[in-house]
Assembly symmetry: C2
Homo-oligomer: 200 residues x 2
DNA sequence: GGACTTATGGAACACTCATTACAGATGTGG
DNA sequence: CCACATCTGTAATGAGTGTTCCATAAGTCC
């Protein structure tokens, strides 16, 4: 019998999904450095051995948590980019962001900002991962804008790279606003003002 | 003779200003949690006892570093708000921010974002301090906008609170952009696009 | 030149960090 | 029921954390 096929041996006795969800929420709130393995064992309800066996080192667990975050909580951005017209895309981008930032049950900010901005040398890989995710999100917006440019919805006078960075800036700024403690109503009005200035 | 008057006893043998500057730069780069006292002793060139005698606990040192940051590096914002007309104020706000973020010799981001966004429970006071500073900066912008409203430069149709949050958002977004690795030229174009959409 | 006050460097403190060793528990295949 | 493989909890690992103790150095005041 081949070993490591997942059929023999004592089976995993906990819900891997639920454990990863708990880890994600804790990393989201406290960042990479601010979350200790002891905190994680408590939040996940597991002993260190189980965590290491199932997810690997702390950084590997963090990577998985970030992936889970991108694939679930941060899907609102992807959904917005799938709207049929450019106007709907941009409106959805702002509306969904505000809704996301004010959803109860998780910190009022983006995980890619709270996760690891400034950090010690040991946590540099986590910080770089956060930067990479932010850049990927930006690239997704750029792709959608390029599409709109081809379809004629976005004027060819507008530099797509600049417009992408401009939109990203405002959206990131909303996240900082939310972290500052802005209310849902305030964020909504701020985002409406942004839309108005954008011409929507 | 009264004790503690700073006249008797062995005098301090190092430059307090230079030491605090070194601490500020390290906190700026690595954040509160990412900077250890051991890192600080090395960067400041001092032994732990000297640091504790001169600046107090780690958090007190951090507070002093943040104050130094606000009073020196972050003065560009205050200066912008002192411009005579609203248009000049807003232009300076964006121009100075871009210049600040791309100045060599310090991290390409705002200390209030890198210092402590998400963090552990022990560092919560540091995080709250950063939030407070961000809100104070916002309040300064609001005051200047209120002034412009009174002088008639800012239309009374515009909600000052909303406009303040909107401007703050874009400026914070520029900081995130810089942390993402945007070049000076890119930041300049992004900020120019923001100014254009603002009507300047 | 003592008496006094404060600063300094280095070692030590108690504690937490991420990670692992080990012994026992729990399943599957024969 | 018996090997076998894997998981699980406890306790330990060594390194790193912020902070303090202590002997000594370096000044001022009488």
């Amino acid at each position: 019998m081949k070993t490591g096929d997942g059929k023999t041996g004592r089976p995993v006795s906990f819900d891997k999904d639920a454990a990863l969800e708990a880890a994600m929420l804790l990393f989201w709130e406290r960042g990479y450095e601010g979350t200790s393995m002891a905190d994680l064992t408590q939040a996940m309800g597991l002993s260190p051995s189980s965590i290491y066996a199932a997810f690997g080192y702390k950084h590997a667990l963090f990577s998985l948590a970030v992936k889970r975050y991108s694939d679930s909580r941060a899907q609102y951005a992807t959904e917005a980019l799938e709207e049929p017209t450019l106007e709907k895309v941009i409106r959805a981008l702002f509306d969904n962001t505000v809704a996301f930032l004010t959803t109860p049950g998780h910190p009022p900010s983006c995980m890619t900002l709270a996760g690891a901005m400034g950090c010690g040398v040991d946590a540099a890989p986590a910080r770089d991962l956060m930067t990479e995710v932010r850049r990927q999100n930006e690239a997704a917006i750029r792709d959608r804008l390029l599409e709109a440019r081809k379809s004629g919805e976005l004027s060819k006078d507008i530099n797509v790279d600049d417009y992408t960075r401009y939109l990203s800036s405002i959206l990131a700024g909303l996240s900082v606003q939310a972290a500052n403690g802005s209310t849902k109503a305030e964020l909504k009005r701020t985002s409406q003002m942004a839309l108005r200035h954008l011409g929507y």
